[in-house]
Symmetry: C2
Subunit: 447 residues, 2 copies
């Protein structure tokens, strides 16, 4: 028997999967469009040199590489010479490429969203796939805090719009982090280590962080001071937290700028979900300013994250281009929504349809097929998704079939009734059926 | 300087490209959904053995193969051992795989549409890309002519809905073709050759077909008889054409069934675009029944095509599954619509928006940024896509920028006006500007 599974770590999406995904993507697009972000799409396949060296040693190993074709292929060559193309690994490098390539066609302030799959040859695990969608939004070309503010506001609007009411968008700033480390006299070569340890606070607790500091040879006293500060901030509102941070970092020039920027963002974004978290570090070293991360209680990781990264978008060109982005964890959002029964609720509220059609037309009389198609045409014109039962031989009875595929209504077309412009409408949920005029059917179903 | 072009034969889609593509895809989806077709998506990457051997020798060469990773890779192996995965080459083989793999989860009559990119290592040319979208709709599991009828009706509705008013959907039947060849005594081993030649009638004319028959050693008399029939049919309406065909093929059992099926389809589909064309052969050998092809005058190839192919979907399983499909040439449709200025017309009619936003908010006063964001929030709530000009330092003047990015309206926020809840609204198309109440802005713009 042939293997008919999808490739390892990849998924087929059946109709109801797609309908859920499209619902979520629809809300995301709608909000981003309303903020003036524009859609961008790049090819799944990139020249291999566009990708190599951009994701670190580990990332490099996870890039899918495409075999050269025909003459170009020398099977005795090393891996490096075997492949000339590779599959998209993220949406940031392609954005940087496009921004450089189209610098004359794109506006100076380019606000783009991009929702496309990426591929990583990672070890598959629960919730980790080798093909998965990324959903990135980035504003290129401006250093203004308006950008950060709008990204947080849009992120907040999307998560609320999807029905989340318990998420927190935590916010911090790279320069505040460095200033805090300076304040407790952790010297520069130990700062990255310290950030890695602090970033785990949520997972490993204060004890764990202290242990990590010790193993990495960083002063435990410094850790204690930082953990004390974090503890104090936990119960503060945002403005008091900023005050405490200001005091803690003292006259640190860049740190003060960081505090100032966070203050600006808070003043511009009027949402309750935004919360300063001085322990938030975000692993990716390319962030240069504000950083954010959205979390819900029932998921260990984040459902969205982002920040300012002024050094990256210019990687293919000569100039440095300021940029700030926000990435929604589409696959994780879908998992949490599924686990919480949020899709079911959307179906009940009539906001999401998972069934294949609104109504099915069937007749036991083969000579009425023509009439069935005409009725179907009318129902479609009135906006109803209409199936016509396609078998004249009736191996499976249409009502049984309608039950199987979960169609809410069936129209049974009979010659005697049709002579009076009527048909039998059966409500499959209640089992009730009634004889109705062909011109009343659409109205009855919609009700 | 780094190469920042997309890979050869592939394209970046900038915002206005995407908006056009999404408009077309939106109409396609809407129509298919209304007919009860359901969305399906499969991974871009398939196990290599799923694809090899399915597309003939030539197709096999065009499949992108993905290099094995890590330990699995033995660089001294042949091409066969170097790759374990491959990029999707079409949407039919993945459908066949899914239908077999999910035979217990899918309805017996499965109507699916699938709109996803495929990849072929073909030589790039004008209008031929290495990454391009296919747009397939297939009805699996029924032999009823209702299926053919609905596919033709839906195809007609989509092309009309997109604004085409001069397309023809030509229809023919594999069994009628074979019956005609039998009627003029072309024996079986020459029939494929004859069909290849006849299929080119449009391109090479009668003379060309006669020449091809001669080169391939087929009786020229037979060709003359067929060409005579085609000539006669050209001016006949569909019913007369069927009559002539019936007479021509005589008592040919399978041919008569073909004629009967076409008659049924014609009776069920009530559209003017459907036209019998007895010379239509469609190259792909897997068709088993009715075949169709949609054309517009200004494009050499077809913009859509399809037919019944009862032998293919069961390729991975044991049972034969009847199937009929229709494939829209999305990339070609986009090219023709662009060349005909159809998108421009849609923009003028207000059905398609290509600009980045409906309105941009700007202020020359940095202290009013907060107010600008509030006004933006209100405009978004009223459904307007709203940009906020992000630069406080104003290196580029906002009005000049608005002109560059082609935003139709700009709101200028000034302290003096804002004190009276007013702002300046500038219509960038006409150059007019007026002072309006902040609560009137949305209404004015929408008008």
């Amino acid at each position: 028997m042939t293997n008919t599974n999808p490739a390892r770590g990849m998924r087929d999406f059946l109709p109801s999967d797609i309908r859920k995904r499209e619902y979520v993507i629809g809300i995301i697009k709608e909000v981003y469009e309303s903020y003036g972000f524009e859609p961008l799409e790049t090819p799944a396949v990139e020249n291999i040199e566009t990708l190599t060296g951009k994701y670190g040693e580990e990332g490099n190993q996870l890039i899918y590489k495409i075999l050269k074709r025909g003459e170009k292929l020398d099977a005795n060559a090393g891996e490096k010479d075997l492949a000339d193309l590779a599959l998209r690994y993220d949406l940031t490098v392609p954005l940087a490429r496009v921004v450089t390539n189209h610098r004359n066609d794109l506006p100076r302030f380019f606000k783009r969203y991009q929702i496309q799959p990426v591929w990583r040859a990672d070890r598959p695990a629960r919730g980790r796939f080798r093909e998965f969608y990324q959903c990135d939004v980035d504003a290129i070309g401006s250093s203004s805090m308006i950008v950060e503010a709008e990204l947080c506001a849009a992120g907040n609007e999307i998560l609320s719009g999807l029905g989340f009411d318990d998420f927190v968008i935590r916010i911090n700033h790279r320069e505040i982090l460095y200033a805090m480390l300076d304040a407790v006299e952790i010297n520069e070569e130990k700062q990255t280590d310290a950030l890695v340890a602090l970033d785990k606070l949520d997972k490993i607790g204060s004890e764990g962080v202290l242990k990590e500091f010790e193993t990495r040879g960083i002063d435990k006293n410094a850790a204690n001071k930082l953990l004390g500060l974090f503890d104090e901030l936990k119960t503060s509102d945002n403005l008091h937290a900023l005050e405490s941070l200001s005091k803690f970092i003292g006259n640190h020039e860049k740190g003060k700028q960081g505090v100032n920027q966070i203050l600006q963002i808070l003043q511009l974004v009027n949402v309750n979900s935004l919360k300063i978290d001085a322990s938030l570090a975000r692993g990716l070293s390319y962030y240069t300013g504000a950083i954010f991360e959205a979390n819900v209680p029932d998921l260990a990781g984040s459902i969205a994250s982002g920040g300012r990264y002024d050094g990256l978008i210019g990687m293919f060109g000569k100039e440095q281009i300021p940029a700030c982005g926000f990435s929604l964890g589409l696959e994780r959002i879908l998992v949490v929504m599924e686990e919480r029964g949020m899709f079911q609720k959307l179906v009940e509220e009539g906001k999401l349809k998972l069934d294949s059609a609104d109504v099915m037309i069937a007749s036991f009389d083969e000579s009425l097929v023509d009439e069935c198609l005409k009725i179907a045409g009318d129902l479609r014109k009135s906006g109803l998704r209409t199936l016509v039962y396609p078998e004249a031989d009736q191996k499976i009875k249409p009502l049984k079939y309608a039950e199987q595929i979960n169609v809410p209504f069936v129209c049974l077309v009979k010659a005697t009734e049709l002579a009076e412009n009527k048909l039998t409408l059966k409500n499959m949920r209640t089992g009730e059926q009634e004889t109705v005029g062909t011109d009343e059917v659409a109205g009855k179903i919609k009700k």
